[in-house]
């Protein structure tokens, strides 16, 4: 059994990873609350953005250009999908709408594999200048990238919570989560609010894709599926509703995932963490009748 000091460095990386999952989870929850769509293409959009950023940086352009293009690309693609398929599938229920985003995920996944075929050897990655500079908190080395990742998670979770509670657009989104038709009759421009939610979700997807590509390399399968699965688990634990629970769950998933690294018997199963935690959460949820039934399934 490894000693406590073996675990300590992984708390830092785990919190950083958890920050990214929190950011993704918040993106998923906001879109779900506003439109009733669970964007399963979240990871794929971010992955495609990250690959484009990689190509831009490889071509000799400054890093910031790649980062901005990555985030903007993800925002535009997600918004475009939302504008076309949001209205087309409105009223078909969350299930059909969410499965439809899998189509987008497949398209992007196929495109990534076509344009950037996986080659053996060193996998490509994006690096930030903040990787090199580190400082220490009680003898633990923390890079600025780690700190940025966690800070992004905190800021975006807190910011989104405040946005939904206090701003007019946020109130409209919460109203739409309750009842789309009634909100529309109250004079809320439903399409525009939905478009805003899609754009926000896309920008967050780009940010998450970029940060994960930086932290764990450009691996298309991992970027497309691991992000979605981990942040979905966090969102599920938050019942696709609560931003604060999603945030905490994401941090826990990230920390447990990385803390399993020193334990050699469990290390290969570390990627199971989100699944196991979400399954436990579902078990608890299904035993007590806590699920709200405000949305009818399609």
């Amino acid at each position: 059994m490894p000693s406590w000091s073996d675990f300590q460095p992984y708390i830092v990386t785990g919190l950083a990873l958890g920050g990214i999952y929190a950011l993704s989870g918040v993106g998923l929850v906001v879109l779900y609350r506003a439109t009733g769509v669970l964007n399963l293409a979240f990871g794929a959009v971010g992955a495609m953005g990250a690959f484009i950023a990689y190509s831009i940086i490889q071509a000799g352009n400054p890093g910031w250009l790649g980062w901005v293009v990555c985030i903007l690309f993800s925002g535009v693609v997600t918004l475009g999908y939302g504008l076309v398929f949001g209205p087309a599938l409105a009223g078909r229920g969350p299930l059909v709408q969410s499965v439809s985003t899998l189509g987008l995920a497949l398209v992007l996944f196929g495109a990534i594999d076509l344009v950037w075929p996986t080659s053996g050897g060193q996998s490509p990655s994006i690096s930030f200048p903040t990787d090199a500079t580190a400082f220490s908190v009680s003898q633990l080395a923390v890079t600025w990238t780690n700190l940025i990742a966690l800070a992004l998670g905190v800021v975006i979770a807190a910011g989104t919570g405040a946005f939904l509670r206090f701003s007019k657009l946020g109130t409209a989104m919460r109203a739409m989560a309750n009842d789309r038709e009634i909100t529309a009759t109250l004079g809320v421009p439903v399409r525009r609010v939905e478009a805003a939610a899609w754009l926000g979700c896309g920008l967050l997807a780009g940010l998450a894709g970029l940060m994960l590509a930086e932290m764990s390399g450009l691996d298309d399968t991992a970027l497309v599926f691991t992000v979605v699965i981990s942040s979905l688990a966090a969102a599920l634990i938050g019942r696709l509703r609560s931003i604060s629970v999603t945030f905490v769950a994401a941090l826990v998933i990230g920390v447990i995932h990385d803390m399993l690294t020193p334990i050699t018997q469990l290390q290969p199963y570390a990627d199971m963490t989100p699944f196991v935690l979400a399954a436990i959460a579902l078990l608890i949820m299904s035993s007590g009748q806590v699920m709200t039934r405000s949305r009818e399934e399609g």
């Binding site: 087309a88 599938l89 059909v96 499965v99 899998l102 189509g103 497949l106 196929g110 399968t221 949820m285």
Partner: protein, 407 residues
């Protein structure tokens, strides 16, 4: 979700004997096609296509299970490939560990898969449909992770049956009567037929009716006294069973299983082909099997098209099917063919006199609205419109117009 059962049910009630004759014709066609597939195809096919067709038979069973869940019960499972993986693992392990007959091992693999699949999805079944989709997606991810570490049995000892340092890897055995590829192809087709019959019997009896009620509306099914959780679990278990059997069959076909053969994206691809092929009918499952196994192999063999293009195509297909054609190819293709036939048959007829221009326009409008309105009303409307058109133009009933009446 467009109701596909309603109009058909009323049509059966209205013209029973006609439907019987059509059902008979359909049965004859299916039997002839199956006999062709069993007897005529094996000597004609090259080794490449024989092996491809074995996969089509196996994946038809998998898409049958998933189509049952999606189309008949309304449960979207994103982890059906994980279920197949479990079936293949159990099948391979039992084939190495025991000397039981292959068919017995297949049934055992199906049963073990059924138990595991039911246990995993049980918590999600009590929640709403979206949660089942999510938990099965995570199951897909989880099983992929486990398989990377556990690996498929390759004749080693212990629980996992995997020996990483083995130099000579023994092949997974096949049944003694189906050692060669053509023989194994025939065997796979027969297993697929049995599985289709198993599901068909379920659909025609009590569970099928319960599933249809659940799919229409879960609250009203509950109100009608149907134990919804039990019947959803039954559907899940049945799907897992046939998928587990398919897994054991796959183990026998591949003879050597590697975890990289089951990447996580294939789980989602499987749902995509089921939706594109048509989730509401058993024919859709066969089409989905061809889409999954035959199309990539044929396109690669003929023109060297990489698989990624098909992933993109199926992705677009999913979005298109969900947005406009929920019945998939199995439902849409005959409709399109009928429409095409009408278009072509119109070319051979003399141009209608100007008097019927109004009737023709109305016919098109009726055709468009047929998708939305209740069909009986449309047929009545159409009958009046056609009567009016016949009076004006004195045209006899045409064959194209007959086609219009078909629901």
């Amino acid at each position: 979700m467009i109701d596909t059962a309603g109009p058909k049910a009323t049509a059966t009630a209205r013209r029973g004997p006609v439907m019987d004759r059509r059902a008979l014709t359909r049965t004859i066609v299916i039997v002839v096609l199956l006999l062709l597939a069993l007897l005529a195809l094996p000597p004609l096919m090259s080794a490449y296509y024989t092996s491809t067709m074995i996969q089509v038979a196996i994946y038809s069973i998998v898409t049958l299970g998933l189509g049952l869940l999606v189309g008949r019960v309304g449960l979207y499972s994103l982890g059906q490939l994980a279920v197949l993986t479990i079936g293949a693992w159990v099948g391979a392990r039992l084939l190495f560990a025991t000397s039981q007959p292959f068919i017995l091992v297949m049934i055992e693999a199906g049963l073990v898969t059924m138990i595991i699949g039911s246990l995993i999805t049980l918590p999600a079944l009590r929640l709403r449909g979206l949660y089942l989709a999510l938990i099965t997606l995570m199951l897909a991810g989880g099983v992929t992770v486990v398989m990377q570490t556990l690996n498929f049995p390759n004749g080693g000892g212990g629980f996992s049956g995997y020996n990483g340092s083995q130099l000579h890897i023994p092949q997974i055995r096949r049944p003694s009567f189906a050692g060669t590829d053509p023989a194994f192809y025939r065997f796979s087709v027969i297993v697929a037929i049995v599985m289709f019959l198993l599901v068909f019997v379920h659909l025609r009896t009590r569970p099928g009716r319960a599933w249809a009620a659940i799919k229409q509306s879960e609250p009203s099914a509950l109100a009608a006294g149907i134990n919804t959780t039990f019947y959803k679990l039954w559907a899940m278990a049945l799907a897992a069973f046939v998928t587990g059997v398919a897994g054991a069959l796959l183990a026998g076909y591949q003879r050597e299983l590697l975890s990289i053969q089951f990447p996580i994206q294939n789980s989602i691809l499987l749902l995509a082909v089921v939706l594109v092929g048509g989730a509401f009918s058993l024919a859709g499952a066969v089409i989905a099997g061809f889409l999954q196994a035959f199309l990539p192999a044929a396109l690669y063999n003929l023109w060297g098209v990489p698989n990624d293009w098909l992933i993109i195509l199926f992705g677009l297909g999913v979005m298109q099917v969900l947005a406009t054609a929920p019945g998939g190819i199995a439902d849409q293709f005959p409709k399109d063919m009928k429409r095409l036939y009408r278009q072509i048959s119109r070319l051979w007829r003399p141009a209608p006199p100007p008097a019927t221009a109004d009737g023709a326009a109305r016919r098109i409008i009726i055709q468009e609205t047929a998708e939305i309105h209740t069909r009986s009303v449309v047929i009545e409307e159409y009958g009046q419109a056609r009567a009016a058109a016949e009076e004006q133009a004195d045209l006899g009933p045409s064959r194209g117009a007959e086609g219009e009446r078909e629901p």
